[in-house]
Amino acid sequence: MVRFLMANLAKTAARARPLSPHFQIYRWPVTMVTSIIHRLTGLALAAGTLLVAWWLIAAASGPAEYDIFSAVARSVVGQLVLFGFVWSLAYHLLNGIRHLAWDVGYGFAVPTANRTGVLVVALSLFAAIGAFAYAYAMKGVHL
């Protein structure tokens, strides 16, 4: 009996077994993508706190220090970083509200979670682009 089982086991093992879905070859579920983005935007915002600290330290230090900060913020790279920061903030905030809704028991059904996931991505982009467009339109010279 044992020998039969062993032989059978060896035969099964030798056959090409179906592999479990691997994240490199199967379509990423919406909920997985939104979860990963939540973590990444959280880490980005953590790094962004250094920029907020720099802004306040520069403002507290004096005009010369503030000018350096302003010049960097106004540069193309600075604007890109600022956009990344604002979008990260918008995404983390909106998806955070989605998480809080889950915490109190709403929106757990898979189709709902998928829909709110897509909604959060779209709204965060809309909010960040809209906020930037508004800031450019209002400030013009400053930005």
Binding site: G42, L43, T49, L93, L100, Y134
Partner: protein
Amino acid sequence: MSTRTPLSRVEGLGAAHSGVGHFWRQRVTAVALAPLAIWFAVIALSLIGADRDTAVAFLRMPFNAVPLGLFIVIGAIHMALGVQVVIEDYIHHEGRKIALLVLNQFFAWIVAAASLFSLVKIAL
């Protein structure tokens, strides 16, 4: 039948020995940060590029300084809690994990202290 002792059940601390403390503080800070983050995004976009006098005049007003102070402190707490989970999830080497968890706390304290000090210096 549960093998947990009545004392363990009453304490309600579970396997991590901290109960729902981390979860709860993460949620409470999240709720507080929602309005503060919207407010911060608005002021950041309207002030970036403005000269120092404009920024300082803005930060001198109590109705701006106080929410920004709250955003800094509550944000630092929320950040430390969140990054802690990321470290615990992905760093499996015990020594490295503990070192990073300590650094994570230090980072939050230092950023919060530097930001708060500057804000108070400007506002007073």
